[in-house]
């Protein structure tokens, strides 16, 4: 595993982040948008772990950050699903483009 240089991880993460951003921007379904965001967060996690390995495997700072990110992403997802369900009751759709009552 030591043979894989840091940059490769970073490229992977950057690509994953890019895919996530694309997903966020391109998808109309709220759930899909959320999944895009999850991808972005996972890219961040890869970054953290790669850097953690690069600096010092023993310090745990990077992995701990990753654990927190995963936890918070879970909390976020829970809240998000609740809100999306609630909005689905009103609009009968999860298409984010249909929610544009507030504007101007």
């Amino acid at each position: 595993m030591n043979s894989i240089p840091l940059v490769h991880f970073l490229y992977l993460a950057a690509m994953l982040f890019g895919v996530g951003v694309f997903g966020v921007l391109a998808r109309k379904n709220a759930i899909s948008v959320l999944m895009g965001i999850e991808l972005m967060l996972n890219a961040v996690n890869i970054n953290f772990l790669a850097f953690a390995r690069y600096w010092n495997w023993n310090s745990l700072t990077g992995p701990v950050f990753v654990v927190f990110v995963i936890t918070i992403a879970a909390a976020e997802a829970a809240v998000a699903l609740a809100i999306i369900i609630s909005i689905y009751r009103h609009l009968r759709t999860a298409n984010v483009d249909d929610a544009h009552y507030l504007r101007g």
């Binding site: 972005m40 918070i72 998000a80």
Partner: protein
């Protein structure tokens, strides 16, 4: 060793929140939840008292020696990850006062909306206040991130709290998607920051970066962080959520977002940038970034506020512009600039909160937030007329109100560091802002009411409004006491 004094206010807040949730179980569904409100207020007041005690101990001026078990040392906890210095304490003061006023506004809101889930609402407000409060003491980016998310995830819920209301739902959804997206940007920036320095402690980041030369990747990380955090304080062009969410959310939530959330965002900015990223390789970049964002916010916020018909939406654009003004002081930095930022936030707290309280009271009576329905409010409640006039003129920065001295310090700091053009833009657009602020004041004071029935309020609300007005006027004439506090707070950052 963990010195619990470092997070005593948060203990109060979280404790009160849990108590509220527990007591709720004993209530029948339709009863008046007076005890819950009392517990919440006690929690915030307790937090304020413990904060005051802590401040007194650190400065050596606490009259009750028993509460100063550790003398004048600044309390720290969790290996230095939390440290409640004077700066943190000043931010906490603003956040806690804002929380207290938010609770007051929400009590009024419950009356107008009886189906509201009182306990949950109060508890979530307290949780998010606790998040904001921890954020101000965070000395490390994991802590900072967790605190920030505690604040924002709670805010998503608060924004979407009116389940039956379409616009509240929409506000919550928009806030959530945009907030999560910008959080991801912020985190991506954080990950690179960690990659460059190998540490997450802000002060160590500063030391590690001190010798670094500028690199594109580092600049990228800084831009990501700025973009992520600028979203929280609604700086243009990351401000688009603000008007929609402010309009759709319940009024107490709007008030909370506009003051507490924004203050927390600035706390994160100050700590992260003036301690961690204040290095020669990066400083010019992010100061330039902020200059662009500040000017954009001042221009866009003020311009878009002009055609608004809904007062909450108007206040949203106004808060974007205000964030721009504050950023002008922030980017000037140093003792002078940060003092100005702190002072202005304090003034902004009273002006914005009193206006939102007035909005909530009016909405409770008339059920509308349209500016045209504010016609002749003066005749229906003279105090609300005065509050709207004084609060809005203070936001516009008209002498002799506190907003004027606040802007004076902000722009003075910007000019002293050579950002005269930002100050100039700020001043010109303050004049523009006068137009829409006065529009509301004129509607309230000059026009004839359609329905002349008086608007009632209880004595607490009356007292809070009167105190706010007195504060705004007094601080305009005599800013020195608060200025001195702000100076002490700002200088604690540089020690």
């Amino acid at each position: 060793m963990i010195q619990y004094q470092a997070f005593l206010p948060e203990i109060w807040l979280v404790g009160a929140a849990f108590l509220v949730l527990i007591f709720e179980l004993f209530y029948k569904s339709n009863s008046d939840r007076g005890l819950l409100k009392a517990v919440a207020v006690v929690g915030v007041v307790g937090a304020l008292l413990s904060l005051g005690c802590e401040l007194g101990c650190v400065s050596g001026g606490c009259p009750v020696q028993a509460c100063c078990s550790m003398g004048t040392t600044v309390p720290t906890a969790f290996g230095g990850f939390l440290k409640t210095d004077a700066l943190a304490a000043f931010f906490k003061l603003i956040i806690l006062l804002a929380t207290l006023l938010t609770l007051l506004i929400s009590f009024r809101y419950f009356k107008a909306n009886p189906t509201f889930y009182v306990a949950e609402f109060i508890a979530i407000i307290l949780f998010s206040a606790a998040g904001a409060s921890v954020l101000t003491s965070a000395q490390e980016i994991i802590t900072l991130y967790v605190a920030l998310e505690t604040l924002t995830i709670s805010s998503y819920l608060l924004a979407a709290f009116m389940k039956k209301d379409k616009s509240s739902n929409e506000a919550g959804m928009k806030y959530l998607l945009l907030g999560a997206f910008s959080s991801a940007l912020l985190l991506f920036g954080f990950s690179y920051l960690y990659g460059f320095t190998g540490t997450t402690v802000i002060a160590d980041i500063g030391k590690a970066l001190a010798t670094q030369v500028s690199s594109p990747l580092l600049t990228l990380a800084v831009i990501m962080i700025v973009a992520g955090l600028a979203f929280k304080i609604s700086l243009a062009p990351f401000h688009m959520w603000t008007p929609d969410v402010y309009e759709g959310s319940p009024t107490p939530v709007t008030a909370f977002l506009s003051v507490a959330s924004k203050t927390a965002g600035f706390a994160a900015f100050v700590r992260l940038f003036w301690v961690g990223l204040s290095v020669p390789a990066l400083q010019p970049t992010w100061i330039g970034l902020f200059a662009v964002l500040a000017v954009l916010s001042i221009i866009l916020g003020n311009l878009e506020a002009l055609p608004q018909r809904n007062i909450k939406r108007l206040m949203a654009y106004s808060s974007i512009a205000q964030a721009g003004y504050i950023s002008a002081g922030f980017l000037a930095g140093g003792q002078l600039g940060l003092t100005a930022v702190l002072f202005y936030l304090f003034v902004y707290l009273f002006a914005n909160m009193s206006v939102f309280l007035a909005i909530a009271i009016v909405n409770g009576k008339t059920g509308t937030d349209q500016i045209e329905d504010y016609a002749g409010i003066w005749k229906r409640s003279p105090l609300i007329g005065v509050v709207l006039l004084v609060g809005l003129l203070s936001l516009a920065g008209v002498p002799p109100f506190a907003g004027f001295s606040g802007k004076w310090y902000l722009f003075g700091a910007a000019i002293s560091k050579g950002y005269t053009w930002i100050a100039l833009v700020g001043m010109i657009f303050s004049v523009v802002s006068l137009y829409y602020y006065l529009q509301v004041a004129r509607q309230a004071l000059v026009s004839e009411p359609k329905d002349p029935s008086p608007i009632e309020m209880n004595w607490v609300e009356r007292a809070v409004l009167v105190i706010s007005v007195v504060f705004i006027v007094t601080l305009g004439f005599w800013p020195t006491p608060v200025m001195q506090m702000a100076q002490t707070a700002a200088s604690s950052l540089f020690n």
